[in-house]
């Protein structure tokens, strides 16, 4: 596809449910990032992958959050036992090069998944 796609676009979950959010990056992009954006705030880094390797997961807020990218392409962000404070837009971004050193490629963002936890 031409850009980063995410599904579902909207997700409503009852508190305690597990959810899985999917990201399809631009074909061939090496790096993939997940961000959480709460209402009225900027995106907050969650984790990033270089191919299938998860190189930084320091932004994941708790052990209920888990991300994977098993084949170095599609990625899934899973949230277990959702809580109301998990309500946010979850953004995925990809970039063509390696996210290493001091030079970072432009990140191309998807439309996000808006998660509402009731």
């Amino acid at each position: 596809g031409a850009g980063v796609s995410q599904s579902p676009r909207y997700k409503v979950a009852k508190r305690g449910q597990d959810v899985a959010l999917r990201c399809d990056p631009i074909s061939g992009h090496v790096s993939l990032f997940w961000y959480q954006q709460a209402l009225g705030q900027g995106p907050e880094f969650l984790t990033y992958f270089q191919n299938e390797a998860q190189l930084d997961k320091s932004g994941l807020p708790s052990d209920r959050f888990f991300a994977e990218r098993p084949e170095g392409s599609v990625s899934t962000l899973k949230i277990q036992r959702t809580q109301q404070e998990d309500s946010a837009v979850y953004l995925c971004a990809s970039s063509p090069g390696l996210a290493g050193g001091l030079r970072t490629d432009t990140q191309y963002f998807g439309p996000g998944t808006r998660l509402t936890v009731l």
Partner: protein, 112 residues
Amino acid sequence: AQSVSQHNHHVILSEAASLELGCNYSYGGTVNLFWYVQYPGQHLQLLLKYFSGDPLVKGIKGFEAEFIKSKFSFNLRKPSVQWSDTAEYFCAVNAYAGKSTFGDGTTLTVKP
């Protein structure tokens, strides 16, 4: 830890007015700096970026930004705004591998 501060939460201008949005970051070392824009109903997209070299960076749609290292600032400017510039603008800094830190954004409303 790196942080980004955007001073203006909401800016309202009339068409043809000049724009300057403030962005300050806290990090003592070398950084990469970005401005992203999100038009209503659209994805975040890159407006301009600074890696090194000339501190005055030109981006799309007539936007420019100036990196002033001594002030830890990367302010966004446009001499004459248009109604179509109505959007939310985010400043971001990347100081080490992978992790970018974003400001909380500035909503710009341009009145026709």
